[in-house]
Amino acid sequence: MIAGARQGKLSGLRRLTALAMARDLRAFIVPGADIARAHGLDIEAAGMQVVASPRHASVLLVVGVIPPALREAAAVIYAQMMRPRALFVLGPDELDQLPEADIREDLSQQDLIRGVRRLRSAFAEGAFRPDVADFDAPVLHVRIQYTCPMHPEVVQDEPGSCPKCGMNLVAREAPATAGHTHADQPELIVDADTHATPAQDHAAQHGMNHDAPAEYTCPMHPEVVQNEPGSCPECGMNLELRETKGTKSHEDAGISPDSDHSSMDHNHMDHGDMAFMSMVGVTKDLPRSSDGLPMDWIDVPFGPFFPGLPGGLLLTLTLDGDTVAGSSVQTPGGNEELLQHSALDAGSFIERLAKVEPLAPVSYRLLACRATENAAGVEVPAATACARVGALERERIASHLGWLALFGQQTGFDWLQRCAASLQLKVQNAGIRQVLALKPDIAFLIKRLHRTPLLKSRTAGVGRLAPNAALRGPVARAAGIGNDARSTDPSYAALGFTPVCREGCDALARLQVRVEEITHGLALIVAAGAIELPAPINIGEASGAGEAAVETPRGVARLRLTLEKGRVTAAQLETPSTLHLALIDPLIKQLALGDALLAIGSLDLAPWEVRQ
């Protein structure tokens, strides 16, 4: 029996389709395939196919803990799935907006396989049933408002015609509750200006005054704008008068940074008295694209559960055609509360921190261990430190392989996705022997990657980032900054470590750095000779303040903490993705959609570790 069954008696043809549906399970993964892999789950091996759109899915597969900020989104996905639909939850269940899970299992591959088996019989027996209840959640409700497509300031609750232009008002959906509009949530970046357009650069050179009420412009060269009449410096034509409305001139990058920049909201114009619908009026104040055409922009959500991006990244792109004109990013808020519990004993603090980031648990465990050890002034034996390096490097290899899988998915490079994902699953929890046994496979992957046609042209020049202080980890090293916490780490120095550096600053360089680091990681594991998960050392009743830095697969994470009598009373965590998140907006501006997603992907973000 499943809650999302279709209405009807299970008989005849319906039984046949139910049997087929039981064999053909298609899963939409929440929060994302990357998280599922990090938990060691192989969805396809378990017998489900992963799909990109909730419309094509029959199973909503929820993996791990879903932060409160994402539960609404999960409910939306569930609501948009076609019946019969099942909710399959792996791990602890705190899904307040979703219905009771149809199948619940623990987070492991065996449990997943068992769950799939149960799911199959649930579909075969319960895909149709006579009594079905609607699924409903507050987030799904909308209020209908009526607005004029040309005058967005006209909004009313009743249909009718626009008092300004007489057009029929168009129904528009607004959130029923004010709780989750764009503007109410803290946003990191909201930016939709057009300062990169040549038109504006040009205008700036001409040194014009934006506050002028009237402007003269050349009909053939819209970038030529001046205050007094005259002739065009480029073609000699007479300039024509153009009305502007003070600072609302588009050259002025003057879209105020309000988040509600829907396409129609750009035109705050006062042509209410015009009987004729003026297109000039509509487009006059629109920001111009790089080719000088004033187009409508739309805000399109690409997340939090988007197949081509890390799960949990709440990304909204402002698109000008298929070019990115601006973006806004939010994060699920991480597992913030994990750090905020007061006065944990060191052991449970370490366990907690290891769960902060599902994508790199070993690194955070190590970070917590080191910080507590530093605070307590405990020395770690060299052999343990070495084995910890092994574990950290194994995680780095697995994480980079996971990134390669995401990269393969983003670029539609199927073979890479498949190969890297399966290697990641194998490496992730492998012992030293198994890791060494996988060496030839990894070497083959890398060799084949180097010979792939189109790969270079697809990635070179995409997502170029000037070297700056905000870069961490592989992203920094791909920009030529040898920023690596491992360089100062004595246990790494003993193994003969040198950081990988590239000068490209683009997605290709990041790809190369990560691939190189996989090879280096393997060498380091060989040198370390052991892999051992960092375990908390008994620190007794020590007090003090300590700090530690660990080079996670995404860059340096730092932890400062205060110990009082063996308990952690204050902790402060600094993570690489927090800094990288702020890079997204300038990085993707004016890129084509595919390139923009690739550029975001090349940063290898982990939304979970972001603190605000």
């Binding site: 050349c218 009909p219 053939m220 819209p222 024509e240 004729f276 003026s278 297109m279 000039v280 509509v282 487009t283 006059k284 629109l286 080719d291 000088g292 055409l293 004033p294």
Partner: protein
């Protein structure tokens, strides 16, 4: 009088009428071009009908249809070129507004 020829010619006439209506009534450059396309299409129908029922052996009639088709394509290419230029300069392809702004 052949019924089929008449049908074809009436179709052509109707398309011609619709095209004239469209070209005259629309305020927008792109829509006006659609009217013109329909007028040209009407010409093609007539040409094909004349070829089929009056001069089936004259390949020149078919050649003429190809030329009309070429004219359609050219009209579109140039028309859209002008539309882009207008839109870049003024943000509109409305004909009336173009007139208003001239003043």
């Amino acid at each position: 009088m052949n019924v089929e020829l008449l049908l074809a010619l009436v179709t052509g006439a109707a398309l011609f009428g619709v095209g004239i209506y469209g070209a005259l009534s629309q305020t927008n450059l792109v829509m006006i071009m659609m009217g013109v396309e329909l007028i040209l299409a009407a010409a093609m129908v007539n040409l094909v009908a004349f070829w089929r029922y009056l001069h089936p052996d004259a390949a020149a009639a078919q050649m003429f249809v190809l030329i009309v088709m070429t004219v359609m394509a050219i009209e579109m290419a140039v028309g859209f070129g002008v539309a882009i230029a207008r839109f870049r300069a003024r943000g509109s392809v409305e004909m009336e507004e173009a007139a208003e702004l001239k003043g």
